[in-house]
Every structure is written in structure tokens, then in C-alpha cells.
């Protein structure tokens, strides 16, 4: 039951893109076509889940015990948190990149420059930091659920957006608003719709 609550909360109610403003750059950049958006969503979900698990291990099983033994204060080494997290994420992305290049070359080429940029997808770092801050995700399985849900939430957001943008191609948008302007306005309306989910899971 707890898992379902965490999953619903992070996928719908506190969606990382619409409520947390995380991962906006790929959300706007890779949402032109549905299949590309889906591929991006899968890659991000994978990286976010792995990074969530590894950063949990780093904080709870490495930094806290070492700091506790050396300084008597388990939070003493927390200043290394950001550097450690971003290094984990960067290596995970490298892994995904090599995997896609070998087994899914078409997807690899179509994602192009956006693939290494998953490193700078703030949804991933954001989710890892939130997992560390939130009281309900202190156990390993809850943390894993939250990370996975964060990825799914991102995927849902970017696929919906891509679906709408495929149709936007055929509409007559005022010239200055073409491209980013109209995309942001659509995102605003989508965010408004997601606000309607507030209330689920409580």
C-alpha cells in the first residue's frame, strides 16, 4: 500500500516536470516526436532508478558510517553529497550511452546530443536529492519506488507533450509564439490539468 501511495504521489500529484520543474530542458528539446520522447523517457527512467539506488547506498552505507566513525557526526561528510551524486549520474549515463550505441543504433543517432545531456537532466539529480530529504523515502525499497516513479512521471509528461506537439504542426500559431512559446503555453495548460490530481493518495 505504501508503495502505491509513493508511486501515485510522484507520478501524478508531485510530477517532477509539472510540479517540481525538473527536467524541463529535455522536456522541451526532445518532445517533437512521440517515439523519440518514449525512448528518452525509457533512458531517463533507467538512469533515475539506478542512480536513486546507488546514491541511497552512498549516503546511508558509505558517507554516514564513515563520517560517524571518523567525526562522531554522521552528517559531517554531507558536503561531498552533490559531487558524489553527479559523478554517479554521469557514469550511469555513460553506461546507457554505450548500451544504446551497441544495441539500438537508430535510437542512439536520433537522440543525438540529448543523450549525454541526460547527465544535466535535473529530474535525475533532483529525484536523488529529494529521496535523501523526504522522510518517507528513507528505506531502500521506498527510495527505489520513488526513483522509478519519478522516471515514469517524466516519461508520461514528455510523451503527452510530444503527442500534442505532433498535432501542433498543423495549427496556425502566431509567428512569434512558434516553437518554444507555444510549447511552454501548452505545458502550462498541462500543468494546470495535473494540478487536478492533487488530492489523490491522501
Amino acid at each position: 500500500m505504501e508503495f502505491i501511495a509513493i508511486l501515485l504521489s510522484v507520478v501524478l500529484v508531485n510530477n517532477l516536470v509539472f510540479q517540481g520543474f525538473l527536467g524541463i530542458c529535455p522536456f522541451l528539446g526532445v518532445s517533437r516526436k512521440v517515439d523519440m520522447a518514449f525512448g528518452m523517457g525509457c533512458a531517463v527512467t533507467f538512469v533515475i532508478t539506478m542512480a536513486g539506488a546507488i546514491t541511497w547506498i552512498i549516503m546511508h552505507l558509505i558517507l554516514h558510517p564513515i563520517a560517524g566513525n571518523m567525526f562522531g557526526d554522521k552528517l559531517a561528510l554531507n558536503f561531498l553529497q552533490y559531487v558524489a551524486f553527479i559523478m554517479v549520474i554521469a557514469s550511469m549515463v555513460q553506461l546507457v550511452e554505450m548500451y544504446l550505441k551497441k544495441f539500438f543504433p537508430p535510437l542512439y543517432t536520433s537522440l543525438g546530443v540529448f543523450l549525454p545531456l541526460i547527465t544535466t537532466n535535473c529530474a535525475i539529480l533532483g529525484a536523488c536529492l529529494y529521496i535523501y530529504m523526504k522522510p518517507e523515502t528513507q528505506s531502500f525499497l521506498n527510495a527505489l519506488t520513488y526513483a522509478f516513479g519519478g522516471g515514469i512521471g517524466f516519461m508520461i509528461a514528455i510523451v503527452i507533450m510530444a503527442g500534442i506537439r505532433e498535432h501542433l504542426l498543423f495549427s496556425d500559431v502566431p509567428k512569434p509564439f512558434r516553437g518554444a512559446g507555444i510549447t511552454l503555453l501548452v505545458a502550462g495548460i498541462l500543468a494546470l490539468a495535473f494540478t487536478g490530481f492533487t488530492g489523490i493518495g491522501k
Partner: protein, 207 residues
């Protein structure tokens, strides 16, 4: 971007033609997340400027030593370090503000604007030009955050830097709550980007 542009040009282009948020659409996450008040926008802009300056400085100093395929790793390492320093500094000297936007400071690490400047400018250019570029981009970023912050704070809370500017009685009952909520951020940024595009188009035709 021509290689022979001067430092002043490089500085100005970051503020206007290459404005990271409004034109290049980089660094959007903080632009949306912390701009519900002017104060938050200012501090976020300042912190990001510090980080982009330091990261451009280090990258440009080490540009001849960095191997191409480890460069992303080195960029993120540098950025993460200076973000941590900025974070500690805010906690030590601007405790109140750091409590308000503390969770967004680490996200400067993944602000693609900063890594983009390292990749596009700092790794190919000398220290002077890289610094000029960093200051330009930083100020351009701060200004766009400020624009969004002003619009959203005035419309959403009826205040400017926490001073009531719109009649409080009206705003207590009829506030545009939506402006401080996430959807308001997207809508405001969408409109501002549209307006900026319109003005740039007109500028080009006029000239």
C-alpha cells in the same frame, strides 16, 4: 559566433542576443522553479553567475590539458564543487534566503546553461574572453529570472520584494493564485518568450 569578437561583444551577446533563458531556452528549470518571488530570483541569479564564472575560469585555464571524452566529467566535477561552495556560503551568510531556496541551489549543477558555456566558449577561448562571456551570461540569466519574478510576484501575491503594491483587500480575495503555482510559471515564460521573439523580429525588420 566569430572567434575574433571582442570581450565587450561577448559580454553583451550573453545579455541580449544569446540570453540563456529567453532566447537559447537553457537553464529553464530554475527559471521556472524559483521565480515566484523577486528575492528568490535575485539570489538564484547571483549564485548561478558565481558558478558560471568560476567554471568558465577553471575550464579555460585547463583547456589544453582536458582530453575530449572526459571533458563532461571534468565540467560537472568543477560545477558541482563550486555549487557546494555557493551553498555553504549562503547557509553561512544568507541563512534566511538559503532556507527558502536551499533545495534549488544544488540544481545549479545540472543547469545546462553552465555546462553549455564551458563546452561552447571556455574550452576554446582564453581566460579574458571566457570570463567576459560568463559575466554576460550570468547577468542575462539573472535579468530574465528577475523579469519572470517581477511578473509572477506582482500578479500572484500583489507584492514586490514583499511590499504590497496592489491593493491588499482586493488581492486577499481575488489573487491570481495560479501565477505562483507551477502552471503560472509555464504560462508566464511562454508569453515572455513570445514577446521577446516578436520584438527581435521587429528589430531585425527595422534595421
Amino acid at each position: 559566433m566569430a572567434a575574433e569578437t571582442g570581450n565587450l561583444e561577448q559580454f553583451k551577446t550573453g545579455i541580449l542576443d544569446n540570453n540563456p533563458v529567453l532566447v537559447q531556452l537553457l537553464g529553464m528549470c530554475p527559471a521556472l522553479a524559483v521565480t515566484n518571488s523577486v528575492e528568490n530570483a535575485l539570489v538564484m541569479g547571483g549564485a548561478a553567475t558565481f558558478v558560471v564564472v568560476m567554471s568558465n575560469l577553471i575550464t579555460s585555464l585547463l583547456r589544453n590539458l582536458i582530453k575530449p571524452h572526459v571533458r563532461i566529467l571534468i565540467f560537472t566535477l568543477t560545477i558541482a564543487t563550486f555549487v557546494t561552495i555557493a551553498d555553504l556560503f549562503l547557509k553561512a551568510y544568507l541563512f534566511k534566503v538559503s532556507q527558502a531556496i536551499g533545495a534549488f541551489i544544488p540544481l545549479i549543477i545540472v543547469n545546462c546553461m553552465i555546462i553549455c558555456r564551458a563546452e561552447v566558449v571556455a574550452i576554446k577561448n582564453g581566460v579574458g574572453k571566457s570570463l567576459a562571456d560568463a559575466f554576460g551570461i550570468g547577468i542575462g540569466f539573472t535579468l530574465s529570472l528577475l523579469t519572470l519574478g517581477i511578473i509572477r510576484e506582482i500578479l500572484g501575491s500583489g507584492t514586490f520584494l514583499n511590499y504590497q503594491v496592489l491593493p491588499k483587500t482586493v488581492w486577499d480575495t481575488h489573487a491570481w493564485i495560479i501565477m505562483i503555482l507551477p502552471p503560472g510559471a509555464f504560462l508566464t515564460l511562454g508569453v515572455v518568450v513570445g514577446v521577446v521573439n516578436y520584438m527581435r523580429e521587429r528589430g531585425k525588420v527595422g534595421a
